[in-house]
Symmetry: C2
Subunit: 170 residues, 2 copies
DNA sequence: TTGATAGGGCAGCCTTGTTGACTTTCCAAG
DNA sequence: CTTGGAAAGTCAACAAGGCTGCCCTATCAA
């Protein structure tokens, strides 16, 4: 399909003519794709009386067990009060466990319970299924480009948060 | 976490292995990038006491002037009541004009006023600036892949809506 | 001991989504 | 020319999940 392989960015400034119309299509692609991206977990969540905010909390606690409330706050980019409401229901429902920090007893280290792990898996598997299908359909080269553009779109500070996550030991 | 999923490549000769971890990174890239994507217009909107919903309405009315309320509803994927509240403030504030349809006088054809055009331009220019920078940084090939993956992620019905938009005459 | 930090709780506000019920306007078919 | 149904709009009520502001406790570190 694409015969020419050009290495973007690095050295020779590519002549990249971007019309407003091309950019608009990218913008709309983001809009529609993001809606699709959240649709599957949203359906599962609706049945359980949870929302996207719960999903996000479960996701980040799952991928970095023991992270503190403050750390989670920073990743999610919401206020303490906003997160607290969500976190409270997750703790009350037995999906998340809040342990007093060993190093610093003021901190609360967040972990998923087996029940929490189960829901997180169910949600993320739905999301992964769509992502997997899209990746397969678009092919490996497209996937690389996809990731490159998304990373370039982030703010430097968000990007470093994201990079830190990417590197996390298994 | 480390179970490998074998994905047959398009050509057949390249084997693409997608771990749950790779998919998770894609998911997080979408999350962080979408936040960045909406951040710039959100700041402008906050000053004007508008929200993202107003932006979305302005965007689609701008790119398809004269579309009906029902059509806008379908594109945005929200309820009539939800849209109506937003649309009402835009009309009251003189950003959007609602004209009785010629063909069918029950329909309301939506147009931006000069004031509406001005705000839409301001909002979309902020968004385009970020998109443009990301596109330049990532390069043309990455952009193609970006679009391919996003399109593959959409539901068929959403995709056809999106495709229809792409084709619209200038 | 004292100031700063982590977290929780409470009150209240806003936007933007939802359902449901209802009315008005209008086109088109009988 | 009447009438059924589609399109649009309105009202009421509700919920999720953002926000701010303020206050409290526990804890750590200087």
């Amino acid at each position: 399909m694409q015969e020419k392989v050009r290495i973007p960015g690095m050295g020779g400034e590519d002549l990249l003519f971007l019309t407003d119309d091309q950019l608009r299509r990218g913008i709309e692609a983001m809009f529609f794709a993001y809606r699709a991206f959240t649709a599957d977990p949203d359906m599962i969540l609706a049945d359980l009386d949870y929302g996207r905010a719960h999903h996000r909390a479960l996701h980040f606690i799952n991928r970095d067990p023991g992270l503190t409330v403050t750390a989670l706050l920073a990743v999610l980019g919401v206020t303490k009060q906003s997160l607290n409401r969500v976190l409270r229901t997750l703790i009350d429902d037995g999906l998340v466990e809040s342990r007093v920090g060993r190093r610093d007893r003021r901190e609360r280290q967040l972990h998923l319970t087996p029940k929490g792990v189960a829901l997180e898996r169910r949600l993320s598997e739905a999301q992964r299924a769509r992502m997997r299908a899209a990746y397969r359909k678009a092919g490996p080269q497209a996937v690389a480009g996809f990731r490159q553009v998304l990373e370039a779109m982030m703010d430097p500070e968000m990007r470093s948060q994201y990079q830190a996550m990417k590197e996390l030991p298994e």
